[in-house]
């Protein structure tokens, strides 16, 4: 908790303490913590002297500002039709098998969270997914196994 308090303070020092700095601060928290806890939000509200309900309302509007605990690596698989047509369902099944979780869940070791997302902007190279900020395109079940295997072993 004290670390989050300090983090929020640092972010507020960096981005400022007005409403316009809210998104950059929330993004900064997600970068460090992968999600924004209720405690973090109250800290943001305090630093910016604004209502916590409004911080919550703003955070929950944006898909990338997670308000539920997430794993160290958040996998976002594109579910738009073009990725779907190129075999997204199979990729999803592979990911679920590999991680032994379903969409929306986090692995027990808190390493991975599996989510679906809207168009990632890689329609010509579908299926596509993000792991945190990194993009993986034209993925196949084999490639996915490789990628996830690498994350499991080496990261």
């Amino acid at each position: 908790m004290p670390e989050i308090k300090e983090l929020v303070k640092q972010l507020a020092d960096k981005h400022g303490r007005n409403r316009e700095s809210l998104l950059p601060i929330l993004q900064g928290i997600v970068t460090e913590e992968r999600y924004i806890s209720d405690f973090a939000m109250t800290e943001v509200a305090r630093e910016l002297d604004m209502s916590a309900a409004l911080v919550y309302g703003t955070a929950t509007f944006y898909s990338f500002l997670d308000t539920k605990p997430r794993g160290k690596y958040v996998i976002r698989l594109c579910k738009t039709i073009t990725c779907d047509m190129k075999g997204k369902k199979q990729i999803l099944r592979t990911l679920e098998d590999l991680l032994k979780i379903e969409v929306g869940e986090t692995t027990k070791d808190k390493k991975f969270t599996l989510l679906e997302t809207n168009c990632l902007g890689w329609c010509h190279k579908g299926p596509a997914m993000l792991i945190n900020d990194e993009v993986y395109t034209e993925i196949t079940p084999e490639k996915v196994s490789e990628i996830i295997g690498d994350y499991m072993k080496n990261r």
Partner: protein
């Protein structure tokens, strides 16, 4: 002179001031356009889309509440296209709304229901969405019930909480099909920064936000032969109750209210105005004591300005948002709670009734009073001082339930004791009233003369300006108050918590220097309270305030210290203002609360 623009609505030409919306222009020529998210007190949202109209030359329909009238505009409000669209919008809202109307507290008072009825909707056009959502009703607060299944997402409550009250306990969360009106992390209203002011309840078009009602509990008490049920009525109820019973805004119904309460079966019909007068004695003395300690004794622990403490919404606001100013609050309980504490002590003694058998009911213009009554600090009589707090609206329901033809009732008087009051008490109901009442008494106490205002009317503190300031120079004071000779007593008045916020920030920054500040949590003061008849608009609040001041002018006694029952209670029971007994029963303390 503002520029005017000319437009045509449904073939009728109309000239309006620039900046007027199409909705406003239509209103001027008596064309009614239905609305839901629109509210006169709030900024325009333009999100429900019920008020769409056709503008010639425009591809799409326009929301009349958000579209400014412009020169040469041609508007049609009742075309095929408009009717279809409106019907769709209402059908969509109904599909999202838990339309179990007969089981709804707002049944027959729901704006969505009215629209559906106007459109003669008998069969749903779309699939019922309610079963697809997991709705939970939040009933934990003693004041307000929030039922998302009835919410149509018009955001009136959100705007109210933000714009009028600067609290933002309610916000909009998530998006798309998950979008909802939510507190912080969807915590119960009881557990967030909510002040219980009920302004959201006043503006919710449906039954999504309603007061928690205690109607049945009151009936149970009345029917119980072993209970002695007394009722007190707040100043602002007597000028608003009639609105819920078929009367015009601004009707004074003090006598009818007393009569109806007696008919309902209350054993004693008493008046909060009595303790409003008592509050002036206690709070006025407290102010003068603080001034003496600060000015003469140079006691730096004394906090000035002193803030009034009658409004439980304001109290909770300061507890949450400005806990460092708790010592500035007058320690006086609100009139409701002074009454409660005395009812089960002084009243019980005088009447020879076992206080344990007394059920103390209050009729308040307020939802926060319910919370206040339940505060653990409010048990100085040895019992819960006020057992059941009802709103003006709930009383109106009870009167209807009892089959009383309210308008035709002959006026009756309050019972005694604790039924006598002055004009100074009744103006508690309007913003500035406590200040005016306090000045009438304090000035006279200090100088031996009446306040130097025509007819005792201190107009500087009246009105609907958000923050008002007034100062009174104290000259030729009585010897006992010589330390106040030449002092300019600086006061300020604010109503609605956004204005309170403004005053608090000015004080915090050292920009404002007052001795005494009156704050009422609701716009207009208690006349615009969260428990008052719905709807509320600036116009309605103005009429209620006028009625309050008429009632004051019509009273024989208009200064609290002249109230004979007040004089009597000090003689027989309390001793003196701020005395030992007063301290025990009439004063309280406050607790800091979290900001969230």
């Amino acid at each position: 002179m503002a520029k005017t623009v000319n437009l045509k609505i449904d073939g009728i030409s109309v000239s309006v001031e620039q900046g007027t919306t199409v909705l406003g222009a239509a209103k001027q020529i008596n064309i009614h356009i239905p609305t839901l998210c629109y509210h006169e007190d709030l900024c325009v949202a333009g999100n429900c889309r019920v008020c769409v109209v056709e503008q010639e030359g425009a591809k799409n329909l326009v929301a009349s509440c958000a579209m400014p009238a412009s020169e040469g505009m041609i508007i049609h409000t009742n075309t095929h296209k408009v009717r279809n669209a409106r019907r769709h919008v209402v059908e969509l809202l109904l599909s999202e709304h838990n339309a179990d109307c007969t089981k709804c507290y707002k049944n027959t008072k729901c704006e969505l229901q009215n629209l559906a009825s106007e459109m003669v909707i008998t069969e749903p056009m779309f699939i019922d969405l309610v079963p697809f959502k997991e709705y939970k009703i939040d009933k934990q607060s003693p004041s307000i019930i929030k039922d998302n299944s009835k919410c149509i997402r018009c955001q009136r409550c959100v705007r109210t909480c933000h714009e009028l009250q600067h609290v933002s306990a309610l916000g909009v969360a998530y998006k798309g099909d998950h979008m909802k009106i939510s507190t912080f992390f969807e915590n119960p209203m009881y557990d967030v920064v909510c002040t219980n002011c009920g302004q959201c309840v006043n503006r919710c078009p449906t039954g999504a936000l309603v007061e928690k009602n205690y109607i049945d509990q009151v009936w149970e008490a009345i029917y119980d032969p072993n209970k002695h049920v007394i009722v007190q009525t707040a100043p602002a109820t007597r000028i608003a109750l009639g609105e819920d019973l078929g009367m015009e805004s601004g009707s004074i119904v003090t006598g009818k209210m007393a009569a109806s309460l007696r008919r309902l079966g209350f054993d004693s019909v008493l008046d909060t105005d009595f303790t409003a007068d008592l509050t002036i004695m206690e709070e006025g003395t407290e102010l003068l004591t603080r001034l003496k300690k600060a000015l003469v004794d140079k006691d730096t622990s004394i906090k000035l300005p002193m803030f009034t403490s009658c409004s439980p919404g304001w109290i909770k606001f300061i507890e949450h948002l400005y806990p460092e100013y708790l010592d500035n609050l007058s320690t006086c309980k609100s009139p409701q709670q002074m009454f409660g504490a005395l009812a089960k002590t002084y009243y019980a003694q005088k009447k020879g009734i076992d206080p344990a058998s007394i059920v103390s009911v209050s009729i308040m213009p307020c939802t926060a009073k319910k919370f206040e009554a339940a505060r653990p600090e409010m048990r100085d009589s040895g019992f819960q001082d006020v057992d059941l707090g009802l709103t003006t609206r709930e009383l109106a329901v009870m009167i209807k339930q009892a089959g009383i033809e309210f308008e035709s009732l002959a006026d009756e008087k309050f019972d005694s004791i604790m039924g006598e009051s002055t004009g100074a008490a009744v103006i508690f109901g309007a913003t500035g009233g406590v200040m005016e009442a306090a000045l009438r008494t304090a000035y006279e106490l200090i100088t031996g003369r009446e306040v130097p205002f025509k007819n005792l009317n201190i107009t500087a503190v009246r009105g609907m300006e958000g923050v008002r300031e007034a100062s009174v120079k104290l000259e030729n004071v009585l010897p006992a108050w010589s330390f106040l000779e030449g002092v300019e007593l600086k006061t300020a008045v604010a109503h609605g918590l956004t204005n309170a916020h403004q005053i608090m920030e000015a004080i915090k920054k050292g920009e404002a220097h007052y001795h005494f500040v009156e704050v009422m949590g609701c716009p207009g003061g208690c006349i615009g309270g969260g428990g008052q008849p719905i709807p509320t608009t600036p116009e309605i609040r103005k009429k209620r305030a006028e009625a309050i001041y008429r009632e004051d002018e019509g009273m024989k006694l208009r200064k609290s210290h002249e109230n004979p029952e007040v004089i009597q209670i000090y003689k027989e029971f309390l001793g003196e203002p701020l005395g030992h007994k007063s301290h025990e029963l009439l004063h309280t303390h406050y607790v800091p609360r979290k900001r969230v």
